[in-house]
Structures are given as structure tokens and as C-alpha cells.
Amino acid sequence: MFGTVMIEVNLEKCDECATCIGVCPVDAIMLDKSIAVDRARCVACGNCVAVCPVGALSLQIASDKTTSDAQRKHR
């Protein structure tokens, strides 16, 4: 079964330091009221996950069904 890799943000851990934005190669992360990842742009390279000082970001593998659910919710 195929799945999609996507970045999950734990907003309770996040300190809004924006280090993830600085290392994102495709400008997929934004900080307005809180950190948000643009899933259409994200290439799941994992840079942001690695440098997050508090471990607030993680790569999650979602099945196709879950992804589309999440995207629907996101819209």
C-alpha cells in the first residue's frame, strides 16, 4: 500500500523560533499566528524535523485515505 509522507506540527511543543522556515528548501513553512506547513509545496526532505530545537516537527506516513481526509480538513 502506498502512503504519503507529511510534516506534522505539535503546536504545544512549538516555541515559534522559525528555525524550520530558515532551512526549508521550498518555502513551504509559514509563521503567522502559528507554524503552518503547506502540504502542496512540502517535499518531505526532513530538514525542518532535524533542526527543530524542541522536537515539535515530525514526519508522518499517512495512507492515501488519511492524507485526503487531512487535506480536506485543511481546506
Binding site: 516555541d15 523560533c17 522559525a18 530558515g22 532551512v23 503567522d32 532535524a50 530545537p53 524542541v54 516537527l57
Partner: protein, 386 residues
């Protein structure tokens, strides 16, 4: 659609670089706005708060109320615990950045700048006669824009700057205020070693009384999510057991080369957003203040008869390049070598220095000692510094 608020110069980002830029642009008689995502200037502090005297005197008159500790010397602690004190190696201060930025923002407002706290700017676009900066709380237009966004430097990217950092060019940092009776007064102490902070170091900067800013930076390419926070708590627990810990925050510190060009049409990059950071010491406040002052002053002077002459803005890059530009590039080259140092090598150097107590104890002598053990490394450094 709301009509954008119109200014001559828009400064985006209210850290030290942005505030000083707005202050000088307003003092130069222009209609200026200072826009910051944060609600309170300088809060939360994401910094060790140490700044050399020279960094201040170039750009800002230091107010006594900002000083938390007058630093007299630096101390380096090798991975196995050998400490090397470098007397008279540092003339500077640990400052209260929240107070400093609050005061400087008040100065900028008194000079005529309009301050918009709690306001995010999410995109920037060139329009007829300048730029439009859009955010969720409205938009702003200006002929000239000074980008002082810090580590993220996102808007600059959308205008063509490649400000995204590779993992080898960033430190992932965590820090806290620590109160403990073992804090060394009037000192900046650095702990080296891969067990403390892979590819980086721990710093303990005295902040008055028995308190210090304790923080660490891990090189991005050796970091795993959450590592800086965990290592910081481990260090505090081991070195300062039972300490009172508060204000735990984190940050990214750019460790790349400053971004040429600093000016594109009517847009200028300053401070961390321009990747202006001493890559060896992690010092960035002095660079930020200098670049903010230079950019704000030049921007104001580039208006002739109400129109901003973009060609004139380039003077700012010349000022930066001749004052700090080369020093910053040298620090980058040195960092590239220093991240290759292994723990046992650092211990060897520390041992050879302490065996020679009458030897000269300045940073240069320590470097020479370090490299005399590895002549090939010295050649590499010389090549890099050219």
C-alpha cells in the same frame, strides 16, 4: 480589499536590526513604519545577550539600565574538562535585550516611526512605484523596504535571495536563565565537546548576581529534532544541579556567509535576515545594529524630492562590506575548519596550553597552538581566508 497604508520606508521585523533601521530612517525625515509579528519588542529573548563594546559604540549609545553584567574575560572548557582562561579577552556586556529593544523602539517612535506590533507580513510584491507588503492584519505600501525578518528571511526569498540555509550553516539552539551559586561572575564561559553540543558549544554568560544565560547550539547537520533542548537540560542538571531554570526558549542561528547583494531594487536585507553572524562566536547583535543603522540612514538619504533613488541604496552594501563584511567571511571559513575538530584534538590543545602557564593567552595564540599540532589544517585555513 483594504487599501494599503502608505509609507516611504517600511521596516519588516522588530529585532535590533529593524528597530535601529526604523530609528535612523525616521531621523532622516522619512515616513516610516516598523512592523513586527511579536506583540512586545524583544520578548521572548532568543539570545545569549552578550555584545562587545565595539559592537555598541559603532551604532548605539549604550544605556546603563541595559547592562546586566560587565564581562571581563572568557573561559574555554575542553571536552574532558580542562579550562583555559583568556584574561582581558573580552570587553563587553551581557545586556537585558527586552529592555534594550523596548527603549530603542520608543526612540524610533519618538523620532516619528509608526510601530505596528503583533502584525505579520506574509508576502511582498513589487507594485507601481514601490512594494506592497501583505499580512493578515492589512497591507502596507512603501517605495523602500528594509527586511529584518531574522532567521526565517522568507520575504527576501520571494524577491530572489537564496536565504534558505543548508543544515551545515545553521545552529539549532536552546537557552534558559539559570540561577545557581556556581555561576562564574563577570565571565563568558564556553564548553566545547560533542557530548555537550555536536558541532557547536554550550555558553554560560553571567547576567548579574548568581544568574546566567545558559544556552547551546548544535550544528544543523548533526542535529536531531529536540536534541538542543534535551542537551541543555542535561547540561544544566549536571553542571548546576538544583538550579532555578526559567525562560527556556529556542532559536536558529544562521552560520552561513552574508548574502550578496544586500540591496535589490528598493529592498535591503539587514541583520540575521542577511545572514550577518560571526560564525565562530555566534555574535550577531553588533552586526545587526551596524547594518540597521547603515541601511536606515542610507535609505533616508536616497530620497530626492519624494522619490527613492534605488541606485543610491547600494551605498549600504559598501558600508557593510568595508566595515564587517570581510570579518564575517573569515569567521565562516574558520567555522568550516572548527567543525572538523575532534574532541581529543581539543583536549590536546587545552593540555598544551595549560602546560605553558607563562605563554601568551590570547585568542590568536590559542589558534596558533591549535594549528601547530596540525600544520595541514593551518594551510587549509590560510587558503580559506584568502
Amino acid at each position: 480589499m483594504s487599501i494599503p497604508r502608505k509609507f516611504e520606508i517600511a521596516v519588516i521585523g522588530g529585532g535590533p536590526a529593524g528597530i535601529v533601521a526604523a530609528l535612523h530612517a525616521a531621523q532622516g525625515g522619512r515616513k516610516v513604519c516598523l512592523i513586527d509579528r511579536k506583540k512586545i519588542p524583544g520578548y521572548p529573548v532568543r539570545c545569549g545577550e552578550a555584545i562587545g563594546l565595539k559592537g555598541f559604540t559603532q551604532s548605539v549609545s549604550l544605556k546603563p539600565g541595559w547592562i546586566k553584567s560587565a564581562i571581563k574575560y572568557m573561559k574555554l572548557v575542553s571536552p574532558c574538562g580542562i579550562s583555559v582562561t583568556v584574561p582581558n579577552s573580552y570587553e563587553g556586556y551581557v545586556v537585558d535585550r527586552e529592555k534594550m529593544e523596548t527603549d530603542m523602539t520608543a526612540d524610533a517612535v519618538a523620532a516619528g516611526a509608526e510601530f505596528f506590533p503583533g502584525t505579520s507580513i506574509l508576502s511582498i510584491a513589487q507594485i507601481n512605484g514601490g512594494y506592497e507588503c501583505k499580512g493578515s492584519a492589512g497591507s502596507f505600501s512603501a517605495q523602500c523596504v528594509i527586511l529584518a525578518e531574522g532567521i526565517e528571511s522568507r520575504l527576501g526569498r520571494s524577491l530572489g535571495w537564496s536565504t534558505n540555509l543548508s543544515l551545515g550553516d545553521v545552529h539549532s539552539c536552546a537557552f534558559a536563565r539559570v540561577a545557581h551559586n556556581d555561576i562564574e561572575p563577570e565571565a563568558c564561559v564556553f564548553y566545547l565537546g560533542s557530548s555537550h553540543a555536536p558541532g557547536g558549544y554550550v555558553w554560560v554568560f553571567h547576567r548579574g548576581g548568581n544568574t546566567a544565560n545558559v544556552g547551546l547550539g548544535v550544528l544543523g547537520s548533526r542535529c536531531k529534532g529536540g536534541m538542543p533542548r534535551e542537551l541543555l537540560l542535561k547540561f544544566i542538571n549536571e553542571r548546576f544541579p538544583g538550579a532555578a531554570v526559567s525562560d527556556l526558549h529556542c532559536a536558529g542561528v544562521p552560520m552561513g556567509k552574508w548574502k550578496k547583494p544586500l540591496v535589490r531594487n528598493g529592498v535591503m536585507l539587514v541583520g540575521d535576515a542577511a545572514r550577518m553572524m560571526n560564525c565562530v562566536s555566534g555574535a550577531g547583535i553588533g552586526y545587526a545594529l551596524f547594518s540597521g543603522k547603515a541601511a536606515g540612514t542610507v535609505a533616508a538619504q536616497s530620497f530626492i524630492g519624494g522619490a527613492c533613488k534605488y541606485e543610491r541604496l547600494k551605498t549600504y552594501q559598501k558600508q557593510w562590506a568595508s566595515f564587517y563584511g570581510k570579518q564575517q567571511l573569515r569567521s565562516f571559513s574558520l567555522k568550516e575548519v572548527m567543525v572538523t575538530f575532534k574532541d581529543d584534538f581539543l583536549d590536546d590543545v587545552a593540555r598544551s596550553i595549560t602546560k605553558d602557564p607563562d605563554g601568551k593567552m590570547d585568542i590568536l595564540s590559542i589558534f596558533i597552538k591549535a594549528f601547530s599540532k596540525r600544520p595541514l589544517l593551518l594551510l587549509k585555513v590560510i587558503r580559506l581566508l584568502r
